[in-house]
């Protein structure tokens, strides 16, 4: 076992055996002790601790409105990834129309909590009534969408669900504009209310979402360890064998769709209540991509992985990458950490970092000797870097673009060349990266944000193909 690289599938071993083998492979030294100590703690106590931390942050430390908003976005994405995990991670059904259930929940809440239906007074049902109703509706819709899964497998199922997702957006955009609002959406919704309580503050929504996340996790954990959970995994691994073992395959698949849909719709209702408005564009494919990114980055099949992935994607994307300064920290920080982790021994790290610094000063001096305007610019954020080290011309756009393209080429080349050359090539690559960042990327935060998202997705998947907390893949021959 120890000989095989970590991410190759364990051939001929089933999931439970693989899991227990993995458990025996503790990390060396004190990290192994920590791991062992953590394992002594059960699942439930850990959930309680995580919840306590979640409550502690906004209530005791306090967050400003932006931080709370990012927290709300992150919790929403975590709940959605958790729900998606039921169909994709557990039952192994690629559901590309998942975001439509989220939209269904939001629109359902919107219609039941606004003046849209039954004018002039509209319908204003309390949340404890409307949310369960919407969730039941979503579960039924999930069953209907899941029906083709009786006949379709794999990518054929994916495309049918994708049609469903697209059709939802087209539907809300075009059908019955007087009721669904068309592209104008529905606004002026009631906040969450019922039984003399009304939630209007962002912190309130943060706590509601946290509560729902914890409840969903608890329910799903019980499901996961129940008959149903085992049936789902059996169907994912081998439907034929599962049905031979008397698992009702079709019913089990439909249940996965229904549970996923219910959780998504629940997230949708809270989203609608918090935004007090819903619009078709919020439930389009770009958001679906984020949910998938969260789930798979965290590790499909693992509940805590899904939650972690959802939180991470949202916090990185909205919390850090929106501000140029923090995306700088992420950019340089990730590079440094990667160097330290990937380069062994430490003398090589020192060589590369030192070499890059020297290389920079030399290049800067050479360029400055030829033309002073070529180093006259500043990117503002890090004047100490571009004053003497990175090259930032007075008109940095073209130069920055060239640097960026050169960076992409160098990175691709870096993967191809063998060991020693790679270390040498790292030095100019790092320097070009810094120049591209200072001259161009830090000036266009919106574009850079998505560029970095793309890079993070590629790097994380190459680093851990089964996700951050995903279980090792098992291949039964």
């Amino acid at each position: 076992m120890a000989v095989e690289p970590r991410d190759s599938p364990s051939v001929g071993v089933d999931e439970w055996v693989a899991r227990s083998l993995e458990r025996r492979e503790y990390l060396p030294g004190w990290r192994g002790d920590v791991q062992r100590a953590l394992e002594q703690v059960g699942w439930w106590p850990r959930l309680v601790v995580a919840t306590a931390v979640g409550v502690f942050i906004p209530v005791v430390i306090g967050l400003n409105s932006f931080q709370t908003q990012v927290g709300i976005d992150a919790l929403l994405l975590a709940i959605l990834a958790l729900g998606l995990n039921v169909s994709v991670g557990w039952a192994g059904l690629l559901d590309l129309g998942y975001v439509a259930f989220y939209g269904f929940g939001a629109y359902g809440y919107a219609l039941l909590s606004s003046n849209q239906l039954n004018p002039p007074g509209g319908i204003h049902w309390p949340a404890y009534f409307s949310i369960p109703l919407v969730m039941i509706g979503a579960a039924i819709l999930g069953l209907l969408v899941g029906l083709p899964s009786r006949r379709l497998i794999g990518d054929y199922l994916a495309i049918v669900t994708l049609f469903f997702g697209e059709a939802f957006v087209e539907f809300t955009n075009n059908v019955a504009p007087s009721k669904l609002g068309g592209p104008n959406g529905i606004f002026a919704l009631d906040p969450l209310h019922g039984a003399h309580v009304q939630i209007t503050t962002p912190t309130g929504y943060f706590l509601v979402l946290l509560g729902l996340l914890v409840v969903s996790m608890a329910v799903l954990h019980m499901l996961d360890t129940s008959r149903m959970g085992r049936a789902w995994r059996a169907v994912r691994e081998d439907p034929l064998a599962a049905s031979a073992m008397t698992v009702p395959v079709n019913r089990v698949k439909l249940m996965a769709f229904a549970f996923g849909a219910m959780i998504a719709a629940m997230a949708g209702t809270i989203f609608a209540a918090q935004q007090t408005s819903v619009f078709p564009t919020d439930f389009d494919t770009p958001y679906l991509i984020l949910i998938y990114a969260g789930l798979i980055l965290g590790g499909a099949g693992s509940m805590s992985g899904a939650v972690l992935g959802g939180l991470l994607v949202s916090i990185v994307l909205d919390g850090f990458l929106r501000s140029p300064t923090q995306s700088s920290y992420i950019f340089y920080g990730v590079i440094l950490v990667t160097l330290c982790v990937k380069l062994r021994p430490w003398t090589r790290v020192a060589f590369v970092v030192g070499g890059t610094i020297v290389f920079g000063f030399v290049m800067h001096a050479i360029v400055a000797a030829f033309s002073s305007s070529a180093v006259a610019g500043t990117s503002g954020a890090h004047s100490w870097i571009d004053l003497h080290w990175a090259i930032v011309p007075a008109n940095p756009v073209t130069f920055g673009n060239i640097c960026f393209v050169a960076l992409l080429c160098l990175v691709v080349a870096l993967v191809q060349v063998p060991g020693r050359w790679r270390t040498m090539l790292l030095i100019p690559t790092l320097y070009v990266a810094a120049c591209a960042w200072e001259a161009r990327l830090s000036q266009v935060p919106a574009t850079t944000r998505l560029l970095l998202l793309g890079a993070i997705l590629i790097v994380v998947m190459a680093w851990r193909p089964s996700g951050l907390l995903g279980a090792r893949r098992v291949e039964i021959v």
Binding site: Q35, F66, S304, R322
Partner: protein, 393 residues
């Protein structure tokens, strides 16, 4: 799985870091706009420092519109810093024209205490989503492209202003021009399934119907780039096609498709199509609520600078320049009588009274935030693809 929950807890802790940083980030993110502008001919001895946020679709399907707005906002800040001796910086927020993202960006701006005014958001549905948040924070926001009438008439957005005319001003003017001067018997109107477009269509339809014109109402997604199947539907006695669209390049392609299929219908575009560089189909009409700024002598220097910053600009930039300019002036005047705070800037914006502007018309707002006496201009595109003024009011 086992290690997972504890890791999840750590992630939640990262939330704190996300936020703790953001308060400090306001300081440095702002500097990214430009730090070389402090040296202006200042009137006061102490420098007037503040930030303006911009919410626009800087990436995504309609980045073409947001990037133009960003270029003009930068330009306005550069010009006004020089003129007023202020040190105003721009903080960028990308919304991708999605209300949910606009909400997050709005909260980011609200928690950044340096920001005293916001330009944008671009879309009416975004304004609808974020208006109450800005209202509660007492933060003024001026959109250069949100045209839905209810934004100001509903009274839910007390700090909202706009430097464009409303759908119910522009729509009827355009429709009346079509009825009175082009006399179509049959007409096709195509919406692009976006708020701007559907709003204008519903403002125009009653006028066409009252005039007894047979209207074929079609609709096509903004993301589509081929209109040949729609053009094949234009019957031979349809003489006018009304396109209330925001992406001028799509209008240009519609014109190409008409020419390709030898159809003689005339395109009438609304102000979203006004783009002397992108929409140049000869014989078409385009309306606008401002004159062609490339033809205003007073705007020559701005136009020159805009052409370098954003070569193919159209209708979305100038109103944002005007909006940013209004904020700049408000900040400068607030500085004169103390410091620029959110409330002082808000009240200064309310009292805005500019006799001229980049839009070729005076700027002052009514109590609800609409531009007073928004004018209406109509251009015809000549065979060389140049815009010529036909009529105005």
């Amino acid at each position: 799985m086992k290690l997972g929950i504890s890791l999840a807890a750590i992630t939640v802790t990262a939330l704190v870091a996300a936020g703790c940083g953001s308060s400090s980030s306001s300081k440095s993110s702002a500097t990214s706009a430009s730090s070389t502008q402090a040296a202006g001919g200042g009137s006061g001895s102490k420098s007037c420092t503040a930030s303006i946020g911009i919410e626009a679709p800087l990436t995504g399907q309609v980045a073409v519109l947001g990037q133009e707005q960003l270029a003009f906002a930068k330009l306005a800040i550069q010009d006004d810093n020089k003129a007023n001796g202020t040190n105003i910086t721009l903080v960028q927020g990308d919304t991708q024209l999605m209300p949910a993202q606009a909400t997050t960006v709005t909260q980011q701006f609200i928690s950044n205490s340096k920001i005293v005014g916001v330009v944008g958001p671009a879309g009416s549905q975004e304004v609808e989503a974020v208006g109450p948040l800005f209202g509660r924070a007492g933060l003024v926001f001026i959109s250069g492209s949100a045209t839905n009438p209810t934004l100001t008439s509903s009274g839910k957005n007390p700090t909202f202003f706009r430097t464009v005319s409303r759908d119910d001003v522009q729509g009827p003017e355009d429709a009346n021009f079509v009825v009175k001067h082009l006399h179509p018997k049959n007409l096709m109107i195509v919406d692009d399934q976006e708020v701007y477009s559907t709003g204008l269509v519903s403002a125009m339809m009653p006028i066409f119907q009252k005039a007894g014109i047979k209207v074929d109402h079609e609709s096509v997604s903004q993301k589509v780039t081929d209109f040949s199947s729609l053009v094949a539907k234009v019957s031979s006695d349809t003489t006018v096609v009304v396109l209330p669209w925001q992406v001028a390049a799509n209008g240009q392609q519609f014109g190409k498709n008409l020419a390709e299929q030898h159809k003689n219908a005339t395109i009438v575009g609304t102000d979203g199509m006004f783009s002397p560089s992108a929409f140049t189909t000869p014989g078409s009409y385009v309306s606008s609520f401002g004159p062609d700024i490339t033809a205003i002598p007073a705007d020559a220097s701005i136009v020159q600078a805009a052409k370098t910053a954003y070569p193919k600009f159209g209708t979305f930039g100038p109103p944002v320049y005007a909006a940013t300019h209004v904020l700049d002036e408000a900040i400068a005047s607030a500085c004169k009588s103390g410091t620029a705070t959110r409330s002082s800037v808000l009240s200064a914006v309310k009292q805005t009274s500019e006799p001229t502007s980049i839009l070729g018309q005076p700027i002052h707002f009514d109590t609800r935030g609409d531009l007073i006496a928004a004018k209406w201009f109509l251009f015809k595109i000549n065979p060389q693809g140049k815009y010529t003024l036909v009529t105005n009011s």
